[in-house]
């Protein structure tokens, strides 16, 4: 129906986006009837998401003509933005922005670099940017979940942690189990994605490959490769962020700094 109304590809895309946004907003209004107020967050996120993705599309259109190495700068910019966004989800944790940026850079960067070196990810901008961005975005989500959970665990167990410190334990020993819980819970989405791959969902990348004429078997295997890369980078990011955040959660005199109030 829309194709008949909008012959231009851009106009068609915008019309499709409007319908998808309306559907999302209908759910927001439904939630409001149950006193769950998502209007502001959802509106801002929808507008912001659309503007950002159009901006990225425009940049990609320009970059298609740019040399391959320029994708490194775009990916670095994505890492910085991801660190900043992720840190907002981990509010009230001192040093969260720095820890998030470094962890995402190391987790997503290392996996992307190894896979590009091994030839799994093509160095063409049209391949490296979309796959790299998927890895960074998932590392960002995992990082936010890990730091949020870490904060909740520490705040819920302040007494136990300070008791262990008072008995002469090191900060690392006092929060080992809480760090492990944070890492485990932050990786549940990535593990579930891998577990349900092909059964519950067929991800966008595979759909895109099929639409662009790739053989279904190769598209399927490559999708597994991407999801496995996401798990690897998310795991590394989570591991690094929960380790690095300890330096901000405790003082040099082994005092717990991450507390609710005094």
């Amino acid at each position: 129906m829309l194709k008949n109304l909008f012959p231009s590809e851009i106009a068609l895309g915008l019309a499709q986006a409007a319908i998808a946004a309306l559907l999302a907003f209908a759910v927001v209004l439904l939630a409001r009837r149950r006193n769950i107020h998502l209007e502001r967050d959802a509106s801002v996120a929808l507008v912001r998401g659309l503007v950002q993705i159009i901006a990225v599309g425009s940049i990609l259109a320009l970059l298609l003509k740019a040399p391959r190495w320029s994708s490194v700068f775009l990916l670095a910019g994505m890492v910085i933005a991801a660190g900043s966004i992720s840190a907002k989800r981990a509010k009230n944790i001192p040093g969260a922005a720095k820890v998030s940026t470094y962890s995402i850079a190391a987790g997503a960067g290392l996996v992307t670099a190894i896979m590009t070196w091994a030839g799994v990810i093509d160095t063409a901008i049209t391949s490296l940017i979309p796959v790299g961005s998927m890895i960074i975005a998932n590392a960002m989500n995992t990082n936010g979940l890990a730091l949020n959970r870490f904060r909740s665990e520490v705040l819920a167990h302040t007494g136990e942690i300070e008791t262990a410190l008072a008995l002469g334990a090191t900060p690392t020993a006092t929060i080992r189990s809480y760090s492990e819980t944070s890492i485990h819970s932050s990786l549940i989405p990535a593990i579930d994605n891998l577990r349900s791959l092909g059964i519950v969902w067929i991800p966008g990348l595979m759909t895109g490959m099929l639409l662009s004429g790739a053989k279904p078997m190769y598209a399927a295997i490559y999708q597994f490769v991407v999801i496995a890369m996401i798990l690897a980078s998310s795991g590394l990011t989570s591991l690094l962020s929960t380790t690095m955040i300890q330096a901000y959660a405790f003082s040099g005199a082994d005092q717990l700094l991450l507390k609710g109030s005094e």
Partner: protein
């Protein structure tokens, strides 16, 4: 050694000098100075929010003083590694916060942090000392409040401290358990020559077991001296 340290009263195990802690522009502890000796049970008494627990947390450096310091046998505690300081100045909190597992594993926790092992016999002796013979293999989840607090005390004593910091150790206990713990504390202080500093809001408890008291209000010591002088008979 600084002038403050050298002026320490002979025999003082612990000397706090001009301790203050300010958080978000609120003074939790203001310019507190006192000393405590071996075999002495010093009570810190005051209403809720008077700064008693905040002061106690400064004594083993769980929190950092904004100004002032503490001397242990004349040595500034900032010069000691925090883990060594906390071994020497052991703390028992209002809630015992026992670790999951059995009683023996809780008693072994402190020494294990220094790579030291505690034999079954030593565990049994420690439990005997706090009135819990045969409790080594009991799971901590099945203990009563009084038993948990005794295990908490034994766990702190397993580190062989010279100073015992007690933060309202009986406030969550029934009358009978409270009196039992009080008796135990008095006995430990006397027989092990411990320096004991106990925070309590219970003036009757301070009258029963403390040798001296510091009365706190608004983060400051408003009165100090022997129990009768400060709290009356």
């Amino acid at each position: 050694m600084s002038a403050d340290a050298s002026s320490a009263i002979d025999g003082a195990t612990l000397q706090a000098t001009h301790l203050s802690r300010v958080v978000a522009q609120k003074a939790l502890v203001s310019d507190v100075s006192f000393e405590a000796r071996a075999s002495e049970l010093l009570g810190i008494v005051g209403a809720s929010g008077s700064g008693k627990s905040s002061l106690l947390r400064l004594l083993n450096r769980l929190d950092e003083p904004t100004s002032g310091t503490v001397f242990l046998h004349g040595a500034d505690y900032r010069q000691l590694p925090p883990r060594e300081l906390r071994r020497r100045a052991g703390m028992v909190t209002q809630r015992p916060f026992l670790f999951p597992g059995n009683v023996a594993s809780n008693l072994r926790f402190g020494p294990a942090q220094r790579g030291e092992s505690v034999s079954d016999e030593q565990v049994a002796q420690s439990l005997e000392r706090v009135g819990l013979p045969g409790f080594a293999t009991h799971d901590t989840s099945v203990l009563s409040g009084g038993e948990q607090q005794r295990v908490s005390l034994a766990r702190t004593l397993a580190n062989d401290p010279e100073i015992l910091l007690l933060d309202e150790p009986t406030s969550a206990l029934d009358e009978q358990s409270k009196l039992g713990i009080e008796e135990l504390i008095v006995s430990l202080v006397r027989h092990q020559r411990l320096t004991c500093i106990m925070v309590t809001h219970d003036r009757d408890q301070a009258r029963r077991i403390c040798h001296r008291v510091l009365l706190m209000d608004g983060g400051r010591i408003t009165q100090s001296g022997n129990v009768q002088e400060v709290l009356g008979a």
